[in-house]
């Protein structure tokens, strides 16, 4: 079980060090950001604002978009795509991943379909989003859901495949009978670390997909980024990109807290 969640171990180590050498880590982080802003500013002095605006211009754009209420409006529209898209895609992805990895019959039945559909990028499905849902919140949510689905499908599938046969044997000797009981009492908890990693990856990926999901005209943060870029208002574009980053950060920190509780049993 340790192997399937390998990538998380490093993350945990980094997180733990926040607790230990937290002050030093924060100071270094702040220094890194300051150095980056300085270099950015220096370079921006030699460029036109539509190529690279200065960080100060971006800050001003951010403040004015926030003050006008446009930013909050765009964000609340995007949240209406992100939440249902992420929730539905994650739920279906985890359910399908667990079911197909557990059931040989389902796996055999779906393997060709899965391999055909898997490489299709969510962006390529915009035509279907419009045809099936229209240029609206549901259409945008659909694009996000497709992205969330595959990440969670493969994470859950891999996690369930890695569940130890020995634990299932132990369960059987202790009275576990039938697929439902085995999945509920052993397979799901045993694969939870892998499933959680998938959900967390998906949450971040879905913020990226907000831009793609609004490319066909649905209003939101993504739409604002595209529009500002088209108008050569790079400062506004970057201000809205920062909104996505902040939302990702917020959700990620919150999810990490949930994950630590759910996986308290792990080392």
């Amino acid at each position: 079980m340790a192997t399937e969640t390998g990538p998380r171990v490093g993350g945990d180590g980094a997180f733990a060090s926040v607790g230990l050498g937290g002050g030093r880590r924060l100071r270094r982080g702040a220094a890194g950001v300051a150095a980056f802003l300085l270099v950015w500013h220096a370079v921006s002095l030699t460029q036109d604002p539509f190529v690279l605006p200065s960080p100060i211009a971006v800050g001003e754009a951010f403040a004015s978009e926030l003050a006008s209420g446009d930013m909050i409006a765009a964000l609340s529209q995007s949240v209406r795509h992100w939440i249902p898209g992420t929730a539905v895609g994650t739920g279906l992805g985890v359910a399908a991943g667990v079911a197909f990895a557990w059931s040989r019959v389902l796996d055999d039945l779906t393997a060709p379909l899965v391999r055909t559909l898997r490489p299709v990028p969510p962006l390529a499905l915009i035509g279907f989003a419009i045809a099936w849902f229209g240029i609206n919140d549901a259409g945008a949510a659909f694009i996000i859901a497709v992205g969330a689905f595959w990440i969670n499908f493969y994470a859950a599938y891999g996690a369930v495949e890695g569940v130890s046969e020995d634990l299932l044997d132990v369960g059987r000797t202790l009275g576990v009978r039938g697929d439902l009981d085995a999945v509920r009492s052993i397979v799901l908890p045993a694969s939870m670390p892998g499933i959680m990693t998938g959900i967390r990856t998906g949450l971040g990926r879905c913020w990226m997909l907000v831009v793609a999901s609004e490319i066909f005209g649905v209003p939101g943060v993504g739409r604002e980024i595209i529009r500002a870029s088209n108008n050569l208002r790079v400062d506004r574009a970057i201000a809205y990109i920062l909104v996505l980053s902040l939302m990702f950060l917020l959700v990620d920190v919150a999810f990490r807290a949930v994950e630590r509780r759910v996986l308290a049993w792990r080392a």
Partner: protein, 277 residues
């Protein structure tokens, strides 16, 4: 009990079948009747005969150890008795009923503990009880009893990750005993702990056995461990895995390793394992 002597056809002086023989098979808690297992019997590749005509029985309340050289099919036999692997021939009877699938009438303990890492000690012990028809209060009482029995009451809320190997195996034993099985079936349960812990666990297991009166079938590769624990030692031979001889250990408990009789039994079983037919 005919099976006991089947393989001792050379007429070893053995005590095989001694006190075990008068017991009628019907009273036996476990009876193996001509159990055989062939892997890859479907023909693509050479089929391997892992077990051949294994017959012996374990009486109600008896402590029997199964020893043999590596590759003699001990673990396969353990899995067949547990109902986890299907035998190709013969059958296993638990109190007269054929075992075809895992049953909660058997408490099974594996070498690598296999605790559920997401459950606390208490929840691990209660896992099987959750599936019984006992009331919640009864289940709690039973878990308390089991934790006391293995001396882990103060660790009830700990997760397995924070336990030592010996403690994990105590939890596994408590978990197996919680549902009050007729038989405790153990596969090299003390193979993964250090020598000191192992001796302590052996003493504890004998105490548990004495206080619960369970029938125990205990698989090990450690001859001294078998002679320390068992009423009878079933010695297996390899290729194919079969019963070579059944040795009665006629030494009062607690048994001392320095004892002349103890050493004699160990020597005898070692000789049986080492000897080739």
């Amino acid at each position: 009990m005919a099976g006991v002597n089947d393989d001792g056809s050379a007429g070893d002086d053995g005590t095989a079948g001694g006190p075990g023989a008068p017991r009628s098979p019907a009273a036996a808690s476990v009876a193996l009747d001509g159990v055989g297992k062939t892997y890859d019997a479907d023909g693509d590749g050479d089929p391997v005969r892992a077990l051949d005509d294994v017959s012996f029985s374990v009486a109600d309340g008896e402590f029997v150890c199964l020893v043999g050289p590596s590759g003699c099919g001990k673990t396969t036999l353990f899995r067949v008795v547990a109902g986890l692997t299907e035998a190709t021939d013969g059958r296993v009877l638990l109190d007269g009923t054929e075992v075809t699938a895992p049953t909660t009438d058997m408490g099974v303990v594996f070498q690598e503990y296999h605790l559920f890492p997401w459950l606390t000690v208490e929840e691990n012990v209660g896992f099987g009880l959750e599936r019984s028809d006992r009331s919640a209060a009864e289940r709690d009482r039973r878990v308390d009893e089991m934790l006391d029995l293995v001396g882990l009451a103060e660790f009830r809320d700990a997760y397995p990750k924070s336990l030592s190997g010996g403690m994990k195996q105590r939890v596994a034993i408590a978990r197996a005993l919680a549902v009050d099985p007729d038989l405790l079936l153990m596969d090299e349960p003390f193979g993964a702990v250090d020598a000191q812990t192992r001796e302590m666990l052996q003493r504890e297991l004998l105490d548990v056995w004495a206080s619960t009166g369970k029938t125990v079938l205990f698989v090990t590769h450690d001859v001294a461990e078998a002679v320390t624990l068992a009423d009878r030692v079933v010695v297996m031979a390899a290729e194919p895995g079969r019963v070579r001889e059944v040795v009665d250990v006629d030494v009062e408990r607690p048994r001392e390793r320095g004892d002349a009789a103890f050493a004699e039994y160990v020597g005898r079983v070692r000789e049986l394992i080492g000897a080739h037919p």
